[in-house]
């Protein structure tokens, strides 16, 4: 009986543990190992090159461009996938009285669809020649720029596509956080005739901080992975790496250019950035001692 109590939990954790070891922990170590070699994924031998791959991450002009793009992606994702849904969830929570449920149900619908579908629909909607938006632009005397020719514009469109998909999801997460603020606290500010925007700024936002940080970090970590799909489907990183980001460029190096070492170094760099974010998440959200 006593023995059982010691063995059983590990038995229950074993399936997850084994899968994580084989498909997560060992691969991370192996990728770290590969990042010090020059290899093409197929050849029987790997050449040890030391830190060269890492130096290239920061010195190679294409990599530099891709890192800058990644930074641009993060800013855009934060605005589109975090700030906008947050503002909207505040509106739904504090400024309207009816239809909250309906908005939740409707806003979530695009989250059900594959990003491939989203990429396809938006490349039709925003098609500079035959799309409906271009048509409307023409009717009113404007010209829709050919956004696939400009890295910056392509990045904006790609972020809009992921925004279309994840907006409802993040909106509901943030709205739930706002819902956990006790009604009496809101009532207290009403009795004291505190203007709504001050209540939001001074009380609601500080109280909702932990879930907001969770969504914020998730927005960056998942957002950078989400944009992979529309990049691959619509621009394949072009024009000339203009819409590529670190994750897509890693894939390109690994499976198109067969520069496994470079890809691994890029992946490790990404991982380090995410680890910093993870640290912030644990510090602000998980709390230090969930179990003890």
């Amino acid at each position: 009986m006593h023995n059982n109590k010691k063995i059983l939990p590990f038995l229950y954790l074993m399936p997850t543990g084994i899968l994580l070891t084989i498909f997560m922990i060992i691969p991370i170590i192996y990728t770290f190992y590969l990042s010090f070699f020059d290899w093409n994924l197929i050849a029987p031998t790997k050449d040890f090159v030391g830190m060269r791959n890492y130096i290239e991450v920061f010195t190679d002009p294409v990599n530099q461009k891709v890192l800058m793009n990644t930074f641009f992606y993060i800013i855009l994702l934060l605005v589109l996938n975090f700030i906008v849904p947050y503002v909207i969830s505040l509106v739904v929570k504090f400024f309207i009285k009816r239809m909250q449920g309906a908005y939740k149900i409707i806003f979530f619908i695009p989250s059900l669809f594959s990003l491939v579908v989203g990429a396809m629909i938006f490349s039709w909607l925003l098609n500079p020649v035959s799309g409906p938006v271009a048509f409307l632009f023409r009717e009113s005397g404007f010209v829709l720029p050919n956004w696939t020719n400009s890295g910056g514009l392509a990045i904006i469109v790609i972020c809009l596509i992921t925004n279309w998909k994840v907006f409802g999801y993040n909106f509901i997460l943030l709205l739930t956080g706002l819902g956990s603020i006790p009604k009496n606290i809101v009532d207290a500010t009403t009795v004291d005739r505190i203007p709504k925007w001050r209540m939001i700024w001074n009380i609601v936002l500080p109280m909702n901080k932990s879930i907001a940080i969770y969504v914020l970090i998730l927005t960056i970590v998942q957002g950078l992975q989400y944009v992979f799909t529309p990049i691959n489907v619509i621009t394949t990183g072009g024009p000339y790496y203009g819409s590529s980001n670190v994750l897509y460029h890693t894939y390109l190096n690994a499976f198109v250019l067969y520069k496994t070492g470079n890809a691994s170094a890029l992946a490790i760099t990404t991982f380090l950035i995410f680890l910093v974010l993870l640290y912030l998440e644990i510090k602000f959200v998980e709390g230090r001692s969930r179990y003890e």
Partner: protein, 272 residues
């Protein structure tokens, strides 16, 4: 006065609602237009002469049954695997004391923050070694566990009062029976909602399958759809939209049935 103010706040929300739904409505409508009509009456939502030509063409070009089956099989494998491993792990975290519990839990949660690029090369090599390239099993295998599931199940289990378990212990009910007779039924709503989310996400999955599935006969729906989209232009949109429309049916049905469960589970996943 206050009513007018209220209505004003609804305006941006209604616009967002339209942005959310209109593209899908256009997509479905275009799938019933001929290529020519899709160019000519670009803004009309209802086709002049509805036609199912796109669907029949599609049926000639690809093996739809096979595509749906591949996608369904993969999504089912992944969903069942994630539910199974997640329930067991959450149960261990909730009801047993063991060394480094806090650390192990954090490690599990940390996997959410691991970018797929860091594991894709080794995992690709492993799947290739196992001779599972071009097989949906190869796609599913590395994805049979998921920290989100563990988190949500753990949260639900924490809502079950501890006194219930104390009374079961006093009555000397074995753990296995507690799990199957008490915990599992209480968890049913979370299992449904988390399962629905896993299934939908897997149904839509694109990145990892593109690496593993190269042979057309092993394709899932998102990969087949990607084949209809040309990055150089000249995409036959009505045709691609017909395939997309087929693709969204399953997630939509699941959402219609389990809408409340699904929205609740999202709420739960974010709150600690």
């Amino acid at each position: 006065m206050s009513n007018k103010k209220n209505a004003l706040w609804h305006l941006p929300l209604i616009i967002i609602g339209i942005i959310a739904l209109l593209p899908v409505i256009f997509m479905i409508s275009n799938s019933f237009k001929t290529l020519q009509e899709s160019y000519q009456s670009i803004l009309s939502v209802i086709p002049n002469k509805p036609t199912i030509d796109n669907y029949t063409t599609l049926n000639h070009q690809v093996n739809l049954v096979r595509l749906v089956w591949n996608t369904f099989f993969m999504a089912t494998l992944v969903t069942v695997g994630k539910l199974f491993t997640g329930l067991l792990a959450a149960y261990a975290f909730r009801y047993y004391q063991f060394k480094h519990k806090n650390l192990i839990y954090l490690l599990f949660v940390a996997t959410i923050f691991v970018p797929f690029t860091i594991v894709m090369i080794p995992n690709y090599l492993v799947i290739a070694k196992l001779n599972l390239l071009n097989s949906v099993i190869g796609v599913a295998l590395p994805q049979l566990c998921d920290a989100t599931g563990i988190m949500i199940f753990l949260k639900t289990m924490e809502k079950i009062p501890g006194s219930l378990f104390d009374s079961l212990k006093i009555d000397n009910i074995p753990n296995r029976r507690i799990f199957f007779n008490i915990v599992l039924p209480i968890l049913k709503p979370s299992i449904i909602s988390v399962g629905a989310m896993f299934f939908i996400n897997s149904w839509n999955e694109y990145v990892w399958p593109t690496l593993i599935l190269k042979d057309k006969s092993s394709f899932t729906l998102p990969l087949a759809l990607q084949n209809y989209i040309s990055s150089e232009g000249g995409t036959n949109f009505p045709l691609a939209m017909a395939l997309s429309s087929i693709m969204i049916v399953v997630p939509l049905i699941i959402y219609l049935i389990f809408q409340r469960y699904i929205l609740n589970s999202i709420s739960n996943s974010g709150l600690k």
